[in-house]
């Protein structure tokens, strides 16, 4: 057994020779049992990364190892929910779950899948084409969790849900993941919705890894600094600094104690992510690298 859920080395994917690569030289390592938030601006390569890990695309460069093997060999042990929650519109909900049973005969857990459907007050006889976006998401998640995956890849899973359903489904998902030690990778660009449920972060920008590592370590590595305009931030790595009037606000990775006149605060996840999104040239910080970058 391996303790690594996903490991990428020099991972790149190009769509067409003329276009910029969707992913370029990504290296990171996600340990087992983590709930990882995958975030980044639109077009950062989140969906491409998930599709590569799910074995739906072949990398044009580098490798991605999933559950200690190739994505194709790990197919039976991973589940993937695509951004548009594809389901067969002509099937009923019960038919969709039966499809999950037929296609995953060695793993299917009907109770889990049915419970998730029942929690949404859905009638199993309803055709998929008659469902709302949020209801489809629920069925897609039921299909994914019914497979009892060791690794669950979710592309924008909560985008279609109302706040209540989002809260409820996230809770179901997290309880299930905690019960079975499932590794979850969840992409989203709504950072706030990730903070409570995730313990690992992967921030992509322009196809590259900008931040990677356990959430608490990443937050601890950054300090939100306020001071007077003109104060030197020198030995520290500055992610982003802004001056408003005579006030200086900056997000830095401190290299030592802060200088005089500077006041340091612990930033929130949202502040760290937003600062990196606003400053695309800030150096990446990879706290999970170990030997992944080899």
């Amino acid at each position: 057994m391996t303790d690594t859920a996903i490991e990428a080395a020099g991972l790149g994917r190009r769509f067409g020779r003329r276009r910029a690569p969707a992913l370029d030289g990504c290296a990171f390592r996600l340990p087992m049992g983590r709930v990882c938030a995958l975030t980044g601006p639109n077009g950062a390569g989140k969906s491409t990364l998930l599709a590569l890990a799910a074995g739906l695309l072949r990398p044009t460069e580098g490798t991605v190892t999933v559950l200690g093997t190739t994505p194709a060999a790990a197919r039976e042990r991973l589940a993937y929910v695509a951004q548009n929650k594809p389901l067969y519109p002509q099937l009923t909900i019960a038919g969709t779950l039966r499809l999950g049973r037929d296609l995953n005969p060695r793993r299917w857990d009907a109770r889990t899948a049915e419970r998730i459907v029942e929690e949404g007050d859905l009638d199993p006889g309803t055709k998929i084409r008659a469902l709302s976006g949020g209801q489809r998401t629920r069925v897609a998640l039921a299909l994914a969790l019914g497979k009892r995956p060791e690794l669950l890849l979710l592309d924008e899973p909560m985008a279609d849900l109302d706040p209540l359903a989002r809260h409820q489904l996230t809770a179901t998902l997290m309880a299930d993941a905690a019960d079975h030690g499932t590794t979850v990778v969840m992409s989203s660009h709504v950072v706030a919705e990730l903070e409570g449920s995730c313990d690992h972060l992967l921030l992509l920008g322009s196809g590259r890894v900008r931040l990677a590592g356990p959430l608490d370590e990443l937050l601890a590595a950054h300090t939100l600094v306020t001071g007077r305009a003109g104060d030197a931030l020198d030995p520290h790595t500055v992610v982003e600094s802004r001056t408003t009037g005579r006030q200086l606000t900056a997000l830095v990775r401190p290299a030592g104690p802060l200088g005089d006149g500077l006041h340091g605060d612990r930033p929130s996840l949202e502040e760290v992510v937003l600062a990196h999104l606003r400053a695309p040239d800030a150096p990446p910080l990879l706290l999970d690298a170990r030997e992944a970058a080899v």
């Binding site: 695309l57 049973r101 995953n104």
Partner: protein
């Protein structure tokens, strides 16, 4: 609730293989296509069976009642009576449905079977269950192929029965020749092979274009072109026999597929039949000594059938292999 309750029962993992599940899933997902195909086979088979039994009897009774089977038939015998028309219509329906089949198969395979799944992402849904893309593709090819073969071969057998009885008493009032396109295709292995080729082409086009409507259009175009080209090429798939006759002789065999006719000069060179042919002295003026005809006798039926079937199966195999290579390259899938 009842539908779910039946699913709840097994707490132990089932022993069924994903391949069996995949076939079941395929049949359920494409149930309407399956029902359509069953309906089409039933209608075509019904038409042929009716023609063979009551249709033929009625037409024959009509024929004898009007005295057309006697030695002095009247001119009215050249015009089919209503019973004969009904018989001809039933046969035409049977053959017409079979001739439509490659087109329908290609359109369905490209659009509904593959293109739509890739367009709205349900293919990716299937590939992230326990079956990989290649097994998915194998099921997409194999399940419809088996059903198409079963249906077409049934219709072929029925039509061969009809055709053998057709030649006996009804031969005199039916104007079909063994080499007519529709008759030729349904009487042998070609109809089934056409369906298989159309399926493979449709699947390949669907994979290439990944969208329902463009794939449907291109596949129909490709299948129609293939059928058309093979109709044109058919006479050249087996060496012809040549009949040569002198200027005064009668014609060569009537039950033959004539491929080419022309005239011969004294040196044996083949020249086109002159436009004055038939006028006195015309042949001599143009130095023509004989006429010739390249033709396929009825005994060439099976060689021609098997050559064309071979070509169609080669096209099907090539398209299917390309589809596998393409999907494998795209997804990096093992099996």
């Amino acid at each position: 609730m009842t539908a779910l309750d039946t699913l709840t029962t097994p707490a132990v993992p089932r022993r069924t293989s994903p391949s069996r599940g995949l076939v079941l899933a395929m049949l359920r997902l494409h149930r309407s296509a399956l029902l359509f195909w069953l309906g089409l086979v039933v209608v075509a088979a019904g038409a042929l069976l009716w023609a063979m039994g009551p249709g033929a009897d009625a037409a024959w009774t009509e024929y004898t009642d009007t005295g057309c089977d006697l030695s002095h038939p009247n001119l009215g015998c050249d015009i089919p009576g209503p019973a004969n028309s009904r018989y001809q219509t039933a046969v035409a329906v049977g053959i017409g449905l079979i001739r439509l089949l490659p087109l329908l198969t290609g359109a369905w395979a490209a659009g509904a079977l593959i293109g739509r799944e890739l367009e709205n992402g349900t293919a990716q849904l299937a590939w992230t269950q326990s079956v990989g893309p290649l097994r998915w593709l194998a099921a997409k090819l194999a399940v419809p192929a088996v059903l198409l073969m079963a249906g077409t071969l049934t219709l072929t057998l029925l039509h061969r029965m009809l055709w053998s009885s057709d030649l006996a008493p009804l031969g005199v009032m039916s104007w079909r020749a063994w080499y007519d396109d529709g008759t030729f295709e349904i009487n042998g292995t070609i109809a089934a092979a056409q369906a298989l080729a159309a399926l493979a082409i449709g699947v390949l086009v669907g994979l290439l274009l990944r969208r329902t409507l463009p794939a449907l259009g291109v596949a129909v175009l490709a299948v129609v072109s293939l059928v058309y080209v093979l109709d044109e090429v058919r006479p050249h798939l087996w060496p012809v026999k040549t009949a040569v006759r002198g200027l005064e002789d009668g014609t060569a065999g009537s039950d033959s597929m004539i491929v080419e006719t022309g005239a011969l000069t004294a040196s044996g060179a083949r020249v086109p039949i002159p436009s004055c042919s038939g006028e006195p002295g015309c042949d001599a003026r143009n130095g023509i000594t004989h006429y010739y005809a390249d033709y396929h006798p009825a005994s060439h039926f099976w060689p021609l059938q098997l050559m064309e079937t071979g070509l169609l199966l080669a096209v099907a195999a090539l398209a299917a292999a390309t589809a596998f290579v393409l999907l494998r390259r795209r997804t990096g899938a093992a099996v």
